[in-house]
Amino acid sequence: MKIKVNGQAYDIAAQPWRTLLDVLRYDLELTGTKEGCGTGSCGACTVLMDGRAVNACLVFCAEAEGKEIITIEGLAQAGRLHPLQQAFMDEGAVQCGFCTPGVILTAKAFLDQNPRPTEARIREAIAGNLCRCTGYDKIVRAIMSVARIADKGSV
């Protein structure tokens, strides 16, 4: 079967019982997407499917056929970092980096739909992305710096 990831079509084995996460990491060797829990609770496996943030660990690869999948590897364009990637670096929002691909993609999907969010709405939006290192403040700050923020927030 075919899936389309970061604008490129790939041929993969038609084994529907494998999750999209497994296929991305093991078949396509796109290891930016991480497995944190396997249960859809931590968000480390977040990818965009037709523009929406989803937990790849709960998607069978067969369900991904015909969809546009974007992983963290697909954010940078022609060597130029996405503003969110740059902001995470500038704000020090990356420590171990394990949650980072997932939360950046969540933030991207959120900002695409909500260009002028409040800080409270940003925190709600990333509720499905757990971070054990940063305490979230710098992550929120990074996202706020990219958004046309509706309030100055208090972070």
Binding site: G43, F110, G128
Partner: protein, 300 residues
């Protein structure tokens, strides 16, 4: 979150029928014991845990009859079983009186979960804590079930039988949920208590929905539904009866909350003791009732 031993999923045949008839034929073959896949946020997890081991998975996401999302005054709100929560939440033009349902749906999981998960799946999973259930019970929802032989509509009250068990017969699937348009001068609230701020399963969930009577301070109808405090989501019928037919005051609300707490039959588990859950019912019934009275300008 309970310790989950996540393992690889056993092989299965995956089918994605384009028509309801084809889906029902696939599910009607009892020997195959096919499982319905919509958002997958419950099913895929259960398959990883070994709690479900279907040899056939029927993906229903591309079936038109399961993707309706419409509202009109006479018909009410129709939500196809495969419509993701994110789409329900984005439905523009719904009367404010449906707010209680949207309030509950916005609490389910995370953005990632709501982009895939469905109300249909939330109901069919049959968890007593299903957040969409108490509001739908209050709103008088009914569910349309279909098999290859027949279709039937039953009130949601009759849908939940036991934890994880619904009235779906073998070979039946949930097609859609129908919610009548609430009367004017109605208001509803859903509150739940969770251990964490986000992404948790309700310790207790309460939906209260009232319609004001013409006489000041009185209610035409009161509906109270409880989640996570009984084997299934339940209506607190006695508490409802206690509210209607007299002027609503702070005292009658407190009394109704007490009665509702008695109508719960909560278990003690890792999220809370039975006593604590009962207390949360008392608190949340009081809070939701106070909130909806305030919204309708009823002084309590």
């Amino acid at each position: 979150m309970a310790t989950v031993h996540v393992r690889s999923i056993a092989e299965f045949e995956y089918r994605a029928p384009e028509s309801l008839a084809e889906a029902l034929e696939l599910l009607g073959t009892e020997a195959r014991a096919g499982k319905v896949l919509a958002g997958g946020t419950d099913l895929v997890l259960q398959m990883k845990q070994g709690l479900a081991r279907p040899s056939l998975v029927v993906d229903v996401k591309q079936i038109p009859e399961l993707n309706r999302l419409t509202w009109s005054e006479p018909v009410g709100l129709v939500i196809g079983a495969a419509v993701p929560l994110v789409q329900v939440l984005a439905f523009a033009g719904l009367p404010k009186t449906f707010g209680i349902l949207l309030e509950a749906c916005s609490l389910i999981g995370s953005m990632q979960i709501r982009n895939r998960g469905t109300i249909g799946g939330n109901l069919c999973n049959g968890a007593p804590s299903a957040d969409s259930a108490p509001p739908l019970l209050c709103l008088g929802a009914e569910v349309v079930l279909a098999s290859s032989k027949a279709a039937r509509a039953i009130p949601l009250e009759q849908f939940f039988l036991a934890p994880g068990k619904t009235a779906l017969a073998a070979g039946e699937l949930l097609v859609e949920i129908k919610v009548p348009t609430p009367p004017a001068r109605s208001a509803g609230r859903y509150l739940r208590h969770t251990t964490r701020e986000e992404m948790d399963i309700a310790v207790a969930g309460v939906a209260s929905f009232i319609t004001a009577a013409p006489q000041p301070g009185r209610l035409k109808t009161a509906r109270i539904a409880l989640g996570a405090v009984a084997p299934t989501p339940v209506r607190a019928y006695q508490a409802e009866a206690a509210l209607v037919g007299q002027v609503v005051t702070k005292e009658t609300i407190a009394e109704a909350a007490e009665i509702a707490a008695g109508e719960a039959s909560p278990i003690s588990d890792v999220r809370g003791s039975g006593e604590y859950r009962r207390e949360m019912v008392r608190v949340l019934v009081r809070r939701t009732l106070t909130s909806v009275c305030e919204e309708l300008g009823i002084d309590v």
